[in-house]
Symmetry: C2
Subunit: 247 residues, 2 copies
Protein backbone atom coordinates (compact mmCIF):
# COMPACT_ATOMS: atom_id res chain seq x y z
CA UNK A 1 0.00 0.00 0.00
CA UNK A 2 1.24 3.44 -0.90
CA UNK A 3 1.67 6.25 1.60
CA UNK A 4 -1.07 8.83 1.68
CA UNK A 5 1.47 11.45 0.73
CA UNK A 6 2.37 9.63 -2.40
CA UNK A 7 -1.24 8.97 -3.29
CA UNK A 8 -2.21 12.56 -2.68
CA UNK A 9 0.59 13.71 -4.90
CA UNK A 10 -0.37 11.42 -7.70
CA UNK A 11 -4.03 12.31 -7.51
CA UNK A 12 -3.08 15.96 -7.53
CA UNK A 13 -0.95 15.59 -10.62
CA UNK A 14 -3.53 13.44 -12.31
CA UNK A 15 -6.10 16.12 -11.60
CA UNK A 16 -4.27 18.62 -13.72
CA UNK A 17 -6.17 18.54 -16.99
CA UNK A 18 -4.25 16.89 -19.81
CA UNK A 19 -4.31 19.99 -21.96
CA UNK A 20 -2.84 22.11 -19.17
CA UNK A 21 0.07 19.84 -18.30
CA UNK A 22 2.35 20.98 -21.09
CA UNK A 23 1.03 24.53 -21.12
CA UNK A 24 3.37 27.37 -20.23
CA UNK A 25 0.55 29.37 -18.68
CA UNK A 26 0.07 26.57 -16.16
CA UNK A 27 3.50 27.15 -14.70
CA UNK A 28 4.32 30.77 -15.44
CA UNK A 29 1.12 32.45 -16.59
CA UNK A 30 -1.98 33.41 -14.70
CA UNK A 31 -3.11 29.80 -14.37
CA UNK A 32 -0.28 29.22 -11.92
CA UNK A 33 -2.47 30.96 -9.35
CA UNK A 34 -4.93 28.09 -9.61
CA UNK A 35 -4.87 24.83 -7.71
CA UNK A 36 -5.40 21.59 -9.60
CA UNK A 37 -9.07 21.34 -8.67
CA UNK A 38 -9.76 24.91 -9.72
CA UNK A 39 -7.83 24.38 -12.88
CA UNK A 40 -9.94 21.36 -13.64
CA UNK A 41 -13.07 23.44 -13.35
CA UNK A 42 -11.52 26.22 -15.37
CA UNK A 43 -10.45 23.84 -18.10
CA UNK A 44 -14.07 22.81 -18.68
CA UNK A 45 -14.82 26.29 -19.97
CA UNK A 46 -11.68 26.84 -22.01
CA UNK A 47 -10.94 25.66 -25.50
CA UNK A 48 -7.85 25.50 -27.64
CA UNK A 49 -7.78 27.33 -30.91
CA UNK A 50 -5.19 27.58 -33.66
CA UNK A 51 -4.82 30.88 -35.44
CA UNK A 52 -2.95 31.30 -38.71
CA UNK A 53 -0.25 33.91 -39.17
CA UNK A 54 -1.74 37.24 -40.17
CA UNK A 55 -5.21 36.55 -38.81
CA UNK A 56 -6.63 39.29 -36.62
CA UNK A 57 -7.85 38.07 -33.26
CA UNK A 58 -9.45 41.31 -32.08
CA UNK A 59 -9.93 44.60 -33.85
CA UNK A 60 -9.22 47.84 -32.04
CA UNK A 61 -12.30 48.95 -30.08
CA UNK A 62 -14.13 45.70 -30.73
CA UNK A 63 -16.30 44.53 -27.91
CA UNK A 64 -15.00 41.21 -26.80
CA UNK A 65 -16.55 38.32 -24.97
CA UNK A 66 -13.41 36.23 -24.59
CA UNK A 67 -9.94 36.24 -23.18
CA UNK A 68 -7.07 33.93 -23.97
CA UNK A 69 -3.67 32.70 -22.95
CA UNK A 70 -1.05 32.29 -25.63
CA UNK A 71 0.02 28.65 -25.69
CA UNK A 72 2.44 28.88 -28.61
CA UNK A 73 3.58 31.57 -31.02
CA UNK A 74 3.65 35.35 -30.89
CA UNK A 75 1.00 38.04 -31.30
CA UNK A 76 1.39 41.71 -32.07
CA UNK A 77 -0.65 44.51 -30.53
CA UNK A 78 -1.20 47.41 -32.90
CA UNK A 79 -2.75 50.83 -32.87
CA UNK A 80 -3.84 52.79 -35.91
CA UNK A 81 -4.01 56.49 -36.68
CA UNK A 82 -7.04 57.60 -38.70
CA UNK A 83 -4.93 58.10 -41.82
CA UNK A 84 -3.62 54.54 -41.69
CA UNK A 85 -0.27 55.00 -40.03
CA UNK A 86 0.33 52.09 -37.72
CA UNK A 87 2.34 51.46 -34.57
CA UNK A 88 2.94 48.09 -32.98
CA UNK A 89 2.67 48.79 -29.26
CA UNK A 90 3.62 45.37 -27.99
CA UNK A 91 4.65 41.85 -28.81
CA UNK A 92 3.41 39.02 -26.67
CA UNK A 93 4.75 35.51 -26.51
CA UNK A 94 3.63 32.36 -24.74
CA UNK A 95 2.53 32.11 -21.98
CA UNK A 96 1.18 35.64 -21.73
CA UNK A 97 -2.41 36.68 -21.23
CA UNK A 98 -4.43 38.44 -23.94
CA UNK A 99 -7.24 40.86 -23.26
CA UNK A 100 -8.14 43.77 -21.06
CA UNK A 101 -10.35 42.86 -18.12
CA UNK A 102 -13.22 45.03 -16.84
CA UNK A 103 -13.65 47.01 -20.00
CA UNK A 104 -15.98 46.50 -22.90
CA UNK A 105 -13.45 47.25 -25.56
CA UNK A 106 -9.89 46.27 -26.31
CA UNK A 107 -7.85 49.41 -26.97
CA UNK A 108 -5.60 47.64 -29.50
CA UNK A 109 -5.86 45.29 -32.45
CA UNK A 110 -4.41 41.89 -31.77
CA UNK A 111 -3.01 39.92 -34.67
CA UNK A 112 -1.19 36.62 -34.96
CA UNK A 113 2.43 37.43 -35.83
CA UNK A 114 3.24 33.76 -36.32
CA UNK A 115 0.97 30.76 -36.36
CA UNK A 116 -0.47 30.86 -32.87
CA UNK A 117 -2.21 28.51 -30.51
CA UNK A 118 -4.36 30.02 -27.78
CA UNK A 119 -6.43 28.81 -24.88
CA UNK A 120 -9.68 30.76 -25.00
CA UNK A 121 -12.15 31.33 -22.18
CA UNK A 122 -15.25 33.48 -21.78
CA UNK A 123 -14.99 36.93 -20.23
CA UNK A 124 -17.66 36.08 -17.67
CA UNK A 125 -15.76 33.02 -16.57
CA UNK A 126 -12.54 34.95 -16.00
CA UNK A 127 -14.32 37.63 -14.04
CA UNK A 128 -15.94 34.97 -11.89
CA UNK A 129 -12.54 33.44 -11.17
CA UNK A 130 -11.19 36.86 -10.33
CA UNK A 131 -13.87 37.41 -7.72
CA UNK A 132 -13.42 33.96 -6.19
CA UNK A 133 -9.63 33.85 -6.29
CA UNK A 134 -7.79 36.95 -5.07
CA UNK A 135 -4.52 35.26 -6.07
CA UNK A 136 -5.71 35.17 -9.62
CA UNK A 137 -6.29 38.90 -9.70
CA UNK A 138 -2.95 39.44 -8.01
CA UNK A 139 -1.24 37.49 -10.75
CA UNK A 140 -3.01 39.55 -13.35
CA UNK A 141 -1.91 42.77 -11.66
CA UNK A 142 1.67 41.55 -11.70
CA UNK A 143 1.52 40.71 -15.39
CA UNK A 144 -0.03 44.10 -16.11
CA UNK A 145 2.76 45.84 -14.19
CA UNK A 146 5.33 43.98 -16.26
CA UNK A 147 3.58 45.03 -19.45
CA UNK A 148 3.49 48.64 -18.27
CA UNK A 149 7.19 48.54 -17.56
CA UNK A 150 7.88 46.97 -20.96
CA UNK A 151 5.79 49.64 -22.67
CA UNK A 152 7.68 52.42 -20.91
CA UNK A 153 11.02 50.88 -21.69
CA UNK A 154 10.03 50.75 -25.34
CA UNK A 155 8.98 54.41 -25.22
CA UNK A 156 12.63 55.29 -24.60
CA UNK A 157 13.57 53.29 -27.67
CA UNK A 158 10.92 55.00 -29.79
CA UNK A 159 11.60 58.50 -28.55
CA UNK A 160 15.33 58.64 -28.08
CA UNK A 161 17.19 56.02 -30.07
CA UNK A 162 18.64 56.16 -33.58
CA UNK A 163 17.54 53.76 -36.31
CA UNK A 164 20.61 51.59 -35.73
CA UNK A 165 20.01 51.46 -31.98
CA UNK A 166 16.34 50.68 -32.51
CA UNK A 167 17.06 47.69 -34.72
CA UNK A 168 19.70 46.38 -32.31
CA UNK A 169 17.25 46.79 -29.42
CA UNK A 170 14.63 44.86 -31.34
CA UNK A 171 16.98 41.97 -32.03
CA UNK A 172 17.96 41.86 -28.35
CA UNK A 173 14.30 41.79 -27.36
CA UNK A 174 13.78 38.75 -29.56
CA UNK A 175 16.96 37.05 -28.38
CA UNK A 176 15.61 37.50 -24.88
CA UNK A 177 12.18 36.05 -25.56
CA UNK A 178 12.59 33.45 -28.26
CA UNK A 179 16.36 33.10 -28.71
CA UNK A 180 18.05 29.73 -28.35
CA UNK A 181 21.76 29.19 -27.86
CA UNK A 182 23.19 28.25 -31.24
CA UNK A 183 24.45 24.73 -31.81
CA UNK A 184 28.11 25.57 -32.44
CA UNK A 185 28.61 28.38 -29.95
CA UNK A 186 26.62 28.71 -26.72
CA UNK A 187 27.40 32.44 -26.46
CA UNK A 188 25.48 32.99 -29.71
CA UNK A 189 21.73 33.16 -29.94
CA UNK A 190 19.49 32.05 -32.78
CA UNK A 191 15.87 32.70 -33.62
CA UNK A 192 13.38 33.14 -36.43
CA UNK A 193 12.06 36.65 -36.98
CA UNK A 194 8.35 36.56 -36.13
CA UNK A 195 7.76 39.78 -38.06
CA UNK A 196 8.43 40.85 -41.61
CA UNK A 197 10.31 44.07 -42.32
CA UNK A 198 7.19 46.20 -42.59
CA UNK A 199 6.06 45.04 -39.15
CA UNK A 200 9.47 45.57 -37.61
CA UNK A 201 9.29 49.10 -39.01
CA UNK A 202 5.88 49.60 -37.39
CA UNK A 203 7.29 48.38 -34.11
CA UNK A 204 10.32 50.66 -34.26
CA UNK A 205 8.70 53.76 -35.71
CA UNK A 206 10.78 53.53 -38.90
CA UNK A 207 10.21 52.67 -42.56
CA UNK A 208 10.86 49.18 -43.84
CA UNK A 209 13.72 50.45 -46.02
CA UNK A 210 15.50 51.91 -43.03
CA UNK A 211 15.07 48.66 -41.13
CA UNK A 212 16.54 46.76 -44.05
CA UNK A 213 19.52 49.09 -44.35
CA UNK A 214 20.30 48.85 -40.64
CA UNK A 215 20.05 45.06 -40.72
CA UNK A 216 22.54 45.04 -43.56
CA UNK A 217 24.84 47.34 -41.61
CA UNK A 218 24.70 45.09 -38.54
CA UNK A 219 25.48 42.14 -40.78
CA UNK A 220 28.48 43.89 -42.29
CA UNK A 221 29.67 44.85 -38.81
CA UNK A 222 29.64 41.16 -37.93
CA UNK A 223 27.17 41.58 -35.10
CA UNK A 224 24.57 39.31 -36.65
CA UNK A 225 23.95 36.90 -39.46
CA UNK A 226 20.70 36.55 -41.39
CA UNK A 227 19.81 33.63 -43.61
CA UNK A 228 16.73 33.40 -45.83
CA UNK A 229 15.61 36.85 -44.58
CA UNK A 230 14.37 35.47 -41.27
CA UNK A 231 16.86 33.15 -39.60
CA UNK A 232 18.93 35.34 -37.32
CA UNK A 233 22.12 34.52 -35.44
CA UNK A 234 23.38 37.00 -32.88
CA UNK A 235 27.16 36.76 -32.48
CA UNK A 236 27.36 37.48 -28.79
CA UNK A 237 24.88 39.83 -27.23
CA UNK A 238 27.45 42.20 -25.66
CA UNK A 239 28.29 43.79 -29.01
CA UNK A 240 24.61 44.18 -29.80
CA UNK A 241 23.96 45.70 -26.38
CA UNK A 242 26.72 48.21 -27.01
CA UNK A 243 25.22 49.12 -30.38
CA UNK A 244 21.71 49.33 -28.92
CA UNK A 245 22.58 52.30 -26.72
CA UNK A 246 21.89 50.27 -23.62
CA UNK A 247 18.83 49.93 -21.48
Amino acid sequence: MQSTDRVAFEIDEADVPAGCQACGARRFGICSALKAAELTHFSTVTRRRKIAQGETIYFEDDEVANYANIVAGAVKLTKLLSDGRQQIVGLQFAPEFIGKPFTEKVPVSIEAATDVEVCVFPKTELEKMLRQQPDFEHRLLEQTLVQLDDARTWMVTLGRKTAQEKVASFLLLLADHIGKPSADNPAHSEFMLPLKRADIADFLGLTLETVSRQMTKLRKMGAIDIRKNLEVTVHGTEQLVAISGGE
Copy 2:
Protein backbone atom coordinates in the same frame (compact mmCIF):
# COMPACT_ATOMS: atom_id res chain seq x y z
CA MET B 1 -34.12 63.10 18.65
CA GLN B 2 -32.69 62.44 15.15
CA SER B 3 -33.57 59.42 13.04
CA THR B 4 -31.04 56.62 13.11
CA ASP B 5 -30.54 57.00 9.41
CA ARG B 6 -29.56 60.58 9.78
CA VAL B 7 -27.27 59.85 12.69
CA ALA B 8 -25.58 57.00 10.87
CA PHE B 9 -24.98 59.23 7.89
CA GLU B 10 -23.47 61.96 9.97
CA ILE B 11 -21.26 59.63 11.93
CA ASP B 12 -20.08 58.07 8.70
CA GLU B 13 -19.20 61.42 7.21
CA ALA B 14 -17.61 62.60 10.42
CA ASP B 15 -15.51 59.46 10.41
CA VAL B 16 -13.80 60.45 7.20
CA PRO B 17 -10.50 61.92 8.35
CA ALA B 18 -10.30 65.67 7.92
CA GLY B 19 -7.30 65.46 5.65
CA CYS B 20 -9.07 63.04 3.31
CA GLN B 21 -12.30 65.00 2.89
CA ALA B 22 -10.99 67.40 0.28
CA CYS B 23 -8.61 64.87 -1.29
CA GLY B 24 -9.20 63.79 -4.86
CA ALA B 25 -7.85 60.31 -4.14
CA ARG B 26 -10.69 59.84 -1.65
CA ARG B 27 -13.29 60.09 -4.38
CA PHE B 28 -11.51 59.02 -7.55
CA GLY B 29 -8.21 57.44 -6.53
CA ILE B 30 -7.47 54.15 -4.88
CA CYS B 31 -8.77 55.36 -1.51
CA SER B 32 -12.29 55.27 -2.94
CA ALA B 33 -12.15 51.50 -2.43
CA LEU B 34 -11.99 52.10 1.32
CA LYS B 35 -14.90 52.54 3.70
CA ALA B 36 -14.79 55.37 6.21
CA ALA B 37 -13.57 53.17 9.07
CA GLU B 38 -10.81 51.65 6.96
CA LEU B 39 -9.87 55.06 5.73
CA THR B 40 -9.58 56.24 9.30
CA HIS B 41 -7.16 53.47 10.08
CA PHE B 42 -5.26 54.10 6.86
CA SER B 43 -5.00 57.81 7.58
CA THR B 44 -3.15 57.10 10.81
CA VAL B 45 -0.20 55.77 8.81
CA THR B 46 -0.18 58.37 6.05
CA ARG B 47 1.37 61.79 6.09
CA ARG B 48 1.19 64.83 3.84
CA ARG B 49 4.33 66.13 2.25
CA LYS B 50 5.03 69.11 0.01
CA ILE B 51 7.62 68.72 -2.69
CA ALA B 52 9.14 71.65 -4.57
CA GLN B 53 9.23 71.78 -8.35
CA GLY B 54 12.28 69.98 -9.70
CA GLU B 55 12.82 67.79 -6.66
CA THR B 56 13.27 64.11 -7.38
CA ILE B 57 10.97 61.86 -5.42
CA TYR B 58 12.47 58.53 -6.46
CA PHE B 59 15.50 57.75 -8.55
CA GLU B 60 15.33 55.03 -11.17
CA ASP B 61 16.07 51.64 -9.60
CA ASP B 62 16.03 53.02 -6.08
CA GLU B 63 14.64 50.68 -3.53
CA VAL B 64 11.62 52.32 -2.03
CA ALA B 65 9.82 51.90 1.24
CA ASN B 66 6.93 54.24 0.49
CA TYR B 67 4.09 54.84 -1.89
CA ALA B 68 2.05 57.99 -2.35
CA ASN B 69 -1.06 59.54 -3.83
CA ILE B 70 -0.71 62.85 -5.61
CA VAL B 71 -2.94 65.35 -3.83
CA ALA B 72 -2.03 68.38 -5.93
CA GLY B 73 0.33 69.15 -8.81
CA ALA B 74 1.95 67.02 -11.51
CA VAL B 75 4.88 64.61 -11.53
CA LYS B 76 6.91 63.31 -14.45
CA LEU B 77 8.18 59.77 -14.83
CA THR B 78 11.49 59.57 -16.65
CA LYS B 79 13.87 56.96 -17.94
CA LEU B 80 17.51 57.52 -18.77
CA LEU B 81 19.87 55.96 -21.29
CA SER B 82 23.40 55.36 -20.07
CA ASP B 83 24.75 58.24 -22.17
CA GLY B 84 22.31 60.71 -20.62
CA ARG B 85 19.54 60.81 -23.19
CA GLN B 86 16.26 61.07 -21.40
CA GLN B 87 12.66 60.14 -22.14
CA ILE B 88 9.67 61.16 -20.08
CA VAL B 89 7.47 58.06 -20.08
CA GLY B 90 4.51 59.49 -18.25
CA LEU B 91 2.93 62.47 -16.59
CA GLN B 92 0.77 61.97 -13.56
CA PHE B 93 -1.68 64.39 -12.05
CA ALA B 94 -3.80 64.35 -8.91
CA PRO B 95 -5.31 62.05 -7.74
CA GLU B 96 -3.14 59.32 -9.24
CA PHE B 97 -1.11 56.75 -7.38
CA ILE B 98 2.70 56.75 -7.39
CA GLY B 99 4.83 53.65 -6.99
CA LYS B 100 5.08 50.09 -8.22
CA PRO B 101 3.73 47.50 -5.81
CA PHE B 102 5.35 44.09 -5.19
CA THR B 103 8.73 45.02 -6.52
CA GLU B 104 11.81 46.23 -4.73
CA LYS B 105 12.70 48.86 -7.25
CA VAL B 106 10.89 51.58 -9.16
CA PRO B 107 11.73 51.28 -12.85
CA VAL B 108 11.51 55.05 -13.41
CA SER B 109 12.68 58.27 -11.82
CA ILE B 110 9.85 60.33 -10.42
CA GLU B 111 10.28 64.09 -10.27
CA ALA B 112 7.98 66.92 -9.28
CA ALA B 113 7.07 68.75 -12.50
CA THR B 114 5.29 71.48 -10.53
CA ASP B 115 5.13 72.10 -6.81
CA VAL B 116 3.47 68.94 -5.59
CA GLU B 117 1.61 67.77 -2.52
CA VAL B 118 1.53 64.05 -1.84
CA CYS B 119 0.00 61.73 0.72
CA VAL B 120 2.71 59.24 1.65
CA PHE B 121 2.28 55.81 3.20
CA PRO B 122 4.64 52.92 3.94
CA LYS B 123 5.01 50.07 1.47
CA THR B 124 4.23 47.52 4.16
CA GLU B 125 1.00 49.26 5.03
CA LEU B 126 -0.23 49.32 1.46
CA GLU B 127 0.57 45.67 0.96
CA LYS B 128 -1.32 44.84 4.13
CA MET B 129 -4.35 46.75 2.87
CA LEU B 130 -4.09 44.93 -0.45
CA ARG B 131 -4.27 41.56 1.26
CA GLN B 132 -7.18 42.57 3.48
CA GLN B 133 -9.17 44.46 0.88
CA PRO B 134 -9.60 42.77 -2.51
CA ASP B 135 -11.41 45.91 -3.70
CA PHE B 136 -8.29 47.89 -3.07
CA GLU B 137 -6.22 45.65 -5.28
CA HIS B 138 -8.94 45.71 -7.89
CA ARG B 139 -8.79 49.48 -7.95
CA LEU B 140 -5.06 49.36 -8.34
CA LEU B 141 -5.36 46.93 -11.25
CA GLU B 142 -7.81 49.27 -12.94
CA GLN B 143 -5.48 52.25 -12.53
CA THR B 144 -2.59 50.20 -13.86
CA LEU B 145 -4.62 49.18 -16.92
CA VAL B 146 -5.39 52.83 -17.61
CA GLN B 147 -1.71 53.68 -17.34
CA LEU B 148 -0.83 50.84 -19.70
CA ASP B 149 -3.35 52.11 -22.22
CA ASP B 150 -2.01 55.66 -21.86
CA ALA B 151 1.54 54.43 -22.39
CA ARG B 152 0.56 52.54 -25.54
CA THR B 153 -1.37 55.48 -26.91
CA TRP B 154 1.69 57.64 -26.39
CA MET B 155 3.85 55.06 -28.18
CA VAL B 156 1.88 55.82 -31.35
CA THR B 157 2.65 59.51 -30.88
CA LEU B 158 6.35 58.82 -30.35
CA GLY B 159 6.72 56.35 -33.17
CA ARG B 160 4.47 57.64 -35.89
CA LYS B 161 3.68 61.33 -35.53
CA THR B 162 5.47 64.38 -36.96
CA ALA B 163 6.89 67.10 -34.74
CA GLN B 164 3.86 69.30 -35.32
CA GLU B 165 1.45 66.48 -34.51
CA LYS B 166 3.42 65.60 -31.40
CA VAL B 167 3.25 69.11 -30.00
CA ALA B 168 -0.47 69.37 -30.76
CA SER B 169 -1.04 65.98 -29.07
CA PHE B 170 0.84 67.17 -26.01
CA LEU B 171 -1.25 70.33 -25.72
CA LEU B 172 -4.44 68.29 -26.05
CA LEU B 173 -3.22 65.95 -23.32
CA LEU B 174 -2.78 68.91 -21.00
CA ALA B 175 -6.08 70.50 -21.98
CA ASP B 176 -7.65 67.18 -21.06
CA HIS B 177 -6.02 66.88 -17.67
CA ILE B 178 -5.50 70.38 -16.35
CA GLY B 179 -7.32 72.65 -18.81
CA LYS B 180 -10.02 75.02 -17.62
CA PRO B 181 -12.59 76.69 -19.86
CA SER B 182 -11.36 80.23 -20.47
CA ALA B 183 -13.26 83.14 -18.95
CA ASP B 184 -14.34 84.80 -22.20
CA ASN B 185 -15.08 81.75 -24.34
CA PRO B 186 -16.20 78.41 -22.92
CA ALA B 187 -15.07 76.52 -26.04
CA HIS B 188 -11.50 77.59 -25.29
CA SER B 189 -9.26 75.93 -22.77
CA GLU B 190 -6.56 77.48 -20.62
CA PHE B 191 -3.75 76.04 -18.57
CA MET B 192 -0.22 76.61 -17.33
CA LEU B 193 2.45 74.45 -18.90
CA PRO B 194 3.78 72.18 -16.13
CA LEU B 195 6.95 71.49 -18.13
CA LYS B 196 9.61 73.69 -19.66
CA ARG B 197 10.61 73.26 -23.31
CA ALA B 198 13.43 70.83 -22.58
CA ASP B 199 11.04 68.56 -20.68
CA ILE B 200 8.38 68.77 -23.35
CA ALA B 201 11.07 67.73 -25.80
CA ASP B 202 11.96 64.76 -23.58
CA PHE B 203 8.30 63.79 -23.47
CA LEU B 204 7.85 64.02 -27.25
CA GLY B 205 11.16 62.59 -28.37
CA LEU B 206 12.23 65.88 -29.95
CA THR B 207 14.76 68.64 -29.28
CA LEU B 208 13.75 71.74 -27.39
CA GLU B 209 14.37 73.88 -30.48
CA THR B 210 11.94 71.82 -32.53
CA VAL B 211 9.32 72.09 -29.79
CA SER B 212 9.78 75.86 -29.74
CA ARG B 213 9.47 76.15 -33.51
CA GLN B 214 6.29 74.08 -33.59
CA MET B 215 4.76 76.11 -30.75
CA THR B 216 5.46 79.26 -32.74
CA LYS B 217 3.89 77.70 -35.82
CA LEU B 218 0.74 76.75 -33.90
CA ARG B 219 0.57 80.28 -32.56
CA LYS B 220 0.86 81.76 -36.05
CA MET B 221 -1.81 79.36 -37.30
CA GLY B 222 -4.11 80.77 -34.63
CA ALA B 223 -4.61 77.42 -32.92
CA ILE B 224 -3.17 78.54 -29.61
CA ASP B 225 -1.93 81.53 -27.72
CA ILE B 226 1.02 81.55 -25.32
CA ARG B 227 1.73 84.29 -22.81
CA LYS B 228 4.82 84.57 -20.63
CA ASN B 229 6.10 81.31 -22.13
CA LEU B 230 3.78 79.18 -20.04
CA GLU B 231 0.20 80.43 -20.04
CA VAL B 232 -1.51 78.59 -22.88
CA THR B 233 -4.93 79.19 -24.43
CA VAL B 234 -6.30 76.64 -26.87
CA HIS B 235 -8.69 78.25 -29.34
CA GLY B 236 -11.11 75.35 -29.70
CA THR B 237 -9.82 71.84 -29.47
CA GLU B 238 -11.22 70.63 -32.83
CA GLN B 239 -8.56 72.48 -34.78
CA LEU B 240 -5.86 71.10 -32.53
CA VAL B 241 -7.27 67.58 -32.85
CA ALA B 242 -7.14 67.93 -36.62
CA ILE B 243 -3.52 69.08 -36.44
CA SER B 244 -2.59 66.33 -33.99
CA GLY B 245 -3.25 63.55 -36.49
CA GLY B 246 -6.04 62.17 -34.35
CA GLU B 247 -6.12 59.48 -31.74
